[in-house]
């Protein structure tokens, strides 16, 4: 009897797991599939029409087509947006790492006045409402000519990347046993030597994870991109919304299949990278609270 019951629970559990997977994958699969269709209708004509057209009424103007992807990839903007996103996210993460790693080292090893201030500021920066800083950026960038530049965007994204890099790295440095640091210091090594030769090599997988994590966060960011990028530096996630297949300078009303093709192309790199650092996701998203 208990064998039967056990099998039964297992069966139910698998059904639930499959249902949950469906919940995750179904919308994505629709997006990918829609991207492969050409829609006769105007903006947001939707998918029901296509379904009905094909299966229930035997008519309608939907055909399988790779045209949206081809357009996005070959002709126009996607490669350009991709390069923009990589340049902006990459340089911003690099700056955040250069500044954040020594700070993380200090936060991990030392107690000093002002330490709570730094931690609090970083935490606040991570959760701040973009509008609280957006207008000053908007005004100052306009004045300094940083609007729609790689430099400007890399600086803005430090709001996301600096807390992530610093607080995650602080956790990784703390994971190294205290005695290792003490042995190094007693051996006569200076702080920068210990950081470069002892701490950083040991925390290198962590640094890679934090960098990838921050990169994905920047890649996905929409808000700052919406306000501060323009025709030169438009990123992938903004491009999803305002159009891939046209040249990026222009604005046009989107069609639903085009939107979906763009969405698919936008999430592929992010999903691959996130799965690569899967082990560290919880840690990154809770800023080190969950290990």
């Amino acid at each position: 009897m208990s064998q039967f019951k056990k099998n039964n629970t297992r069966y139910i559990r698998y059904m639930l797991l499959l249902a949950a997977s469906l919940w995750v994958l179904w919308p994505i699969s629709i997006m990918i599939e829609e991207g492969f269709r050409v829609d006769i209708g105007p903006l947001f004509s939707g998918r029901g029409a296509s379904f009905i057209g094909e299966f229930f009424q035997g008519q309608g103007g939907i055909r399988f087509s790779t045209i949206e992807y081809v357009k996005a990839l070959r002709i126009e903007a996607y490669p350009r947006l991709l390069i923009n996103s990589v340049i902006i996210a990459g340089s911003s993460v690099l700056v955040a790492a250069l500044a954040g790693v020594p700070a993380a080292f200090t936060l991990a090893l030392y107690n000093f006045r002002g330490k709570p201030f730094i931690t609090y500021s970083l935490l606040a920066l991570r959760t701040i409402s973009p509008f609280a800083v957006l207008l000053p950026f908007f005004l100052i960038y306009g004045r300094l000519g940083l609007f729609d530049t790689y430099r400007g965007m890399a600086i803005v994204y430090l709001i996301i990347n600096l807390p992530v890099l610093t607080l995650m790295m602080r956790g990784f440095f703390k994971d190294i046993p205290k005695e290792i640091y003490e042995a190094a210091f007693i051996s006569g090594a200076s702080n920068s030597y210990v950081l470069r030769r002892v701490a950083l090599p040991l925390a290198l997988p962590g640094l890679a994870a934090a960098a990838v994590f921050a990169f994905v966060g920047t890649w996905n960011e929409f808000f700052y991109a919406l306000f501060l990028t323009g025709t030169v530096t438009k990123t992938v996630s903004r491009g999803v919304w305002s159009g891939f297949s046209e040249s990026i300078e222009s604005f046009k009303i989107l069609e639903f299949d085009e939107l979906n093709a763009g969405g698919t192309l936008a999430i592929i790199p992010a999903v691959i990278l996130a799965l690569a650092v899967q082990k560290y996701l919880a840690r990154g998203l809770t800023l080190g609270a969950a290990k």
Partner: protein
């Protein structure tokens, strides 16, 4: 050529509510091998870390190396070496790089790295391991590397924080001898922290016994064994430790339950009598005390009789228990010179 002088050193980790190290004054002589012995939580590691500079004293108090005040000197400039219980080797470096680390890391080094590592590794018999990573070594080998890393920079002072506690018994005995030999050879002032009385007794020139952040006795192993200054010292040293028996003292008579021992002393009232198990002998009858055998403990080379004398349980170390069985009445004898008396609060009576 370094003596260390601690002058009323205190350390608190909770804003002076509790003190891990409580007002300790101690002089460690040049070339001396001083063992700090104490149970876990006695503050012995904190004391060592204060000497290393890894912790800063809480209240005013000075740490002097010879006559130089170390207060403002960071650990890296104190010219000390430390060996850790957890070995604390750098897992990403080879054994060679680990041993060479102090020479490579400090700017002031003038020694040749290659020759020094060769010399040290042959001294510690780890020449064959130089290319390996620490994680592939046994605990004993790792601690040898740790010792190598400590020795190579020829420091003024060695600090050892329970270096053998993570090793199994056989290796521990082996490395114990080796550390002692190293000390004899290098003649460097050494402070060695342990909770293991055997290590303390076998290695120390002097032992400092620490309890609740305070030193309760400093002396050579013989002094500590023969004249414990406190009942807890008496309990700490010796295997099995000293028997501590509650007695009534009156007019040069000590009364255990209802049995009386003549012993000239100045005490009166409730006190504690200390008697080492190995100083007691079993006699047919007419011993100074008698009781009932409760149980035995077998140690291999010797045996311990647990004897109940009225309300007290006394351990007697003997080589042979033939003819004695549980429940027997037994009479015991000892020299009254071996008796040590303590106040009820633990302090020794002199």
């Amino acid at each position: 050529m370094t003596s260390i002088s601690l002058q009323s050193i205190s350390k608190s980790f909770d804003n002076n509510k509790n003190f891990a190290v409580n007002d300790i004054t101690l002089k460690i002589l040049d070339k001396e091998f001083l063992v700090i012995l104490g149970e876990s939580g006695s503050g012995k590691s904190s004391l060592l870390r204060l000497i290393a500079g890894l912790e800063e004293p809480t209240l005013p108090g000075d740490i002097l190396f010879d006559s130089k005040n170390m207060k403002e000197v960071p650990p890296r400039n104190r010219d000390v070496s430390m060996v850790f219980q957890s070995y604390a080797l750098f897992p990403n470096m080879t054994v060679f790089d680990n041993i060479a680390f102090p020479l490579v890391a400090s700017e002031s080094n003038k020694l040749d790295v290659d020759t020094e590592v060769k010399r040290i590794s042959s001294l510690l018999k780890i020449e064959d391991l130089l290319e390996r990573k620490p994680s592939t070594l046994s605990g004993g080998e790792q601690q040898r590397v740790g010792l190598g890393r400590a020795i190579i920079k020829q420091p003024k002072v060695f600090l050892m924080d329970e270096p053998l506690s993570n090793l199994d018994a056989a290796l521990r005995a082996e490395l114990r001898t080796e550390i002692k030999k190293l000390h004899n050879k290098l003649q460097v002032t050494t402070v060695y922290v342990t909770h293991d009385q055997t290590e303390a007794m076998t290695m120390a020139d002097r032992i400092a016994i620490l309890k609740d952040g305070k030193i309760i006795q400093v002396g050579t192993p013989e002094e500590i064994y023969n004249n414990p200054a406190h009942s807890s010292t008496a309990e700490f040293i010796g295997s099995p430790p000293m028997n501590l028996i509650k007695v009534q003292a009156d007019n040069n008579i000590l009364t255990v339950g209802s049995q009386k021992i003549a012993f000239s002393n100045s005490a009166s009232g409730s006190i504690v009598m200390g008697l080492r198990p190995e100083n007691i002998t079993v006699v047919g009858n007419n011993g100074k005390l008698s009781g009932t055998v409760s149980f035995f403990e077998y140690l291999g080379d010797s045996k311990i009789i647990n004897l109940t004398i009225e309300d007290e349980l006394i351990k007697i170390k003997v080589s042979d228990t033939t003819g004695i069985s549980i429940g027997d009445k037994l009479s015991i004898d000892f020299n009254v010179e071996d008796i040590r008396l303590f106040h009820v609060n633990g302090n020794s009576m002199k």
